[in-house]
């Protein structure tokens, strides 16, 4: 059966959009929605509804309708009736099994703190208050935020990374409409030739299917495979025979996670790997609606407005325009809150900052960054340099990276490097007495993900207290 649809009119670049073209666009969209193909209208409605589904706990056992927010609550005037009436997680309180309340209030079941704790608590989340107003105070705060990374062991402990990614713990059961999109038939792994043994012959459940789960490298086409998806249990012919089988797998916006029966957790970055592609029986399922990601990306990316606004801003005031965060530029540069190079000692990683006090004409370096790290910035301290000390930085082959001047009156300056080099020499100039102390950021080479930029903008843009 053939389908034909009207083509949306094309508007030439630079032309004003005419009402005829807008009508043509609407006709093109509406014709497709009305045709019913691919359930377009239902998908839009379903995705919208599932962003704000079942937001309030019941009083007792009777739950409100799933779409209660849309049908009733959004019309409540807050000057007359607040809702939810109870505390989060309690009767008549916000449901911490629902997307946005969970994001805001956290949920014990997900081991997720509230957003205020995750993003602003110095003890259990991200420290955001400097000890004082100086550049040094902010530099030290940055050290607390970024944590450390040991390139030798790969171990990483970073409050900034953790705070930015913690939200991804919010995932619901695969059959729940909460936070889900409309879904459909998705490709699933093929079955292994060898079926699983029944791990527990007494529980009344059959043996699980033995799926052939694998991932394909996006650059090399190499595959990471797993022996199967059979489960451990008391009835196996050989105890522990399925230790290396997959217990469960899941994904976040940045990685796939595969948990084995022996407790091993594999992380496969989405910049390198894609799940499958599978050739097994199509499976009817829902897909993650990405409501959080849509919100976060747009929020972080809109500080200069949508393109038309951005152009208007630039035309009116380049000064104001430049003050607004440039999402595109931030994403292309080394993330300054990436973890500092460190050394793992037992269960901790100690950040190691290279520092030195330089006299007239003295240099630090050339320094070579550890594997997987780059030099991102330096702090110059001229509190004992009189009258003022110039400090310059060069990269490989003498490439000038910039310079700063510090003095007792203005003792601290930070110099950032874009692009961040792997070789660095820092030199104090002449014309001063005393010394100038420098400290270097040697960070995990990492350009920020949208979730990282969202963290910065969210912390900078909102108080998260009630």
């Amino acid at each position: 059966m053939a389908f034909t649809f009207p083509v949306a009119p094309t508007v030439a670049v630079g032309d004003e959009i005419t009402s005829t073209q807008l009508v043509g666009l609407a006709n093109a969209v509406n014709a497709r929605l009305r045709s019913g193909i691919a359930d377009g209208a239902e998908r839009v409605a379903y995705l919208t509804r599932n962003a704000f589904l079942q937001m309030v706990n019941p009083s007792g056992d009777v739950w409100s309708p799933q779409s209660h927010f849309f049908t009733q609550r959004q019309a409540a005037d807050p000057e007359h009736a607040e809702w939810p009436e109870g505390e989060p997680g309690e009767d008549n309180g916000a449901t911490v099994g629902s997307n946005w309340p969970t994001y805001i209030y956290g949920a014990a079941a997900l081991d997720l703190d509230s957003e205020a704790v995750r993003l602003t608590d110095p003890n259990y989340g991200l420290p955001v208050e400097p000890a004082g107003p100086t550049i040094l105070d902010h530099w030290r705060l940055g050290q607390q935020q970024r944590g450390a990374y040991d390139p030798a062991t790969g171990a990483l402990a970073s409050p900034a990374f953790t705070a930015a990614r913690a939200y991804a713990a919010i995932r619901w059961r695969w059959w729940s409409p909460q936070g889900a999109s409309f879904g459909g038939y998705f490709a699933s792994p093929a079955l292994h030739v060898t079926p699983c043994e029944d791990p527990d012959a007494t529980d009344g459940y059959p043996a699980p299917p033995n799926f052939d789960l694998f991932f394909t490298n996006l650059l090399t086409a190499a595959t990471t495979t797993y022996p199967g998806t059979c489960q451990d249990g008391p009835s196996l012919s050989v105890p522990g025979m399925y230790d290396l089988h997959v217990y469960a797998w899941g994904e976040s916006p940045w990685a796939y996670y595969v948990l084995l029966n022996d407790g091993t957790l594999d992380e496969l970055s989405k910049t390198e790997w894609v799940i499958g592609p599978f050739s097994g029986e199509p499976r009817l399922a829902r897909a993650w609606g990405s409501h959080f990601e849509r919100f976060m990306h747009r929020f972080a990316g809109e500080f200069r407005g949508v393109e038309a606004n951005e152009q208007a801003m630039r035309g009116r005031s380049s000064t104001k325009y430049k003050l607004a965060a440039d999402f595109g530029r931030i994403l292309r540069q080394q993330y300054l809150l990436a973890p500092q190079r460190g050394v793992q000692v037992g269960d901790t990683i100690e950040a190691q900052y290279i520092s030195a006090t330089l006299g007239v004409g003295q240099s630090l370096g050339p320094l070579t960054a550890a594997e997987g790290c780059v030099f991102a910035a330096l702090l110059a301290d001229g509190s004992t340099a009189s009258p003022s000390a110039p400090v310059s930085a060069t990269g490989a082959n003498g490439l000038a990276l910039g310079g700063v001047g510090v003095s007792p009156a203005s003792p601290y300056q930070v110099l950032t490097f874009h692009p961040a080099p792997t070789q660095l020499t820092i030199t104090a100039g002449t014309g001063f007495s005393g010394g100038v102390t420098v400290e270097v950021l040697e960070l995990l080479e990492y350009t920020p993900g949208p979730w990282d930029v969202f963290l910065l903008m969210r912390v900078g843009g909102a108080r998260m207290s009630p």
Partner: protein
């Protein structure tokens, strides 16, 4: 998609125990294509009705975009636009909560700028720099007219999750959050256009 946002002003019904004569509502729409005059024409509400001596008159305005936008800076600016030198109204600029910021006499033709202040929205006190800007000016004096302006530095995204946290997640709150999730609220794009406006002295 219209890049516009609507600002609403109205004559307050009562201030304290004093009843204001009359009530009116006016709407001003700023279109992104209109020629905004930086520092002057950002938001401007003009009270044109004549006052009656010894009564309080009020103009107040509110950028009721709730939690979507914040400002890097903003002010509340009042100008006595009376033409007669016989009228020197006593002017009080107050936040929506009724909190007084200044009380002074305005010289005719002169402007006065007040840097922000404690504002409230649904019982929550907003700090300077946060988005909700609400102000009113009350004044006495016969034949007086005044303009209330809110110069804005930069507006940037605020806290669209605030309405849920404050138990005030209404259709407006949904509009704020939905704007980010679904990109559907066209009227929310205008403040970034306004953000280009400089904060300046309109009398300069």
């Amino acid at each position: 998609m219209a890049d516009s946002v609507t600002f609403t002003s109205k004559l307050a019904a009562t201030i304290g125990s004093t009843t204001i004569a009359g009530a009116a509502t006016s709407t001003k729409t700023l279109d992104s294509t209109s020629a905004l005059v930086p520092g002057v024409d950002v938001t401007q509400q003009t009270l044109t009705s004549l006052c009656t001596a010894a009564t309080f008159h009020s103009i107040w305005t509110e950028l009721d975009m709730g939690d979507v936008w914040k400002t890097s800076s903003h002010g509340i600016q009042l100008r006595n636009t009376s033409t007669s030198t016989t009228h020197e109204p006593c002017i009080m600029v107050a936040a929506r909560s009724g909190h007084m910021i200044i009380t002074t006499e305005l010289v005719i033709g002169q402007s006065y700028l007040v840097a922000g202040g404690a504002l409230t929205n649904n019982g929550v006190v907003w700090q300077i720099g946060e988005v909700l800007i609400a102000a009113h000016a009350d004044f006495t004096g016969a034949g007086a007219t005044a303009e209330l302006l809110i110069p804005i530095g930069i507006m940037f995204p605020g806290d669209p999750l605030g309405p849920i946290r404050r138990k005030a997640f209404t259709a407006a709150g949904y509009g704020a959050l939905g704007h980010y999730i679904f990109g559907s609220a066209a009227t929310l794009t205008c403040p970034l256009e306004i953000s280009a406006a400089e904060v300046g002295d309109p009398t300069a």
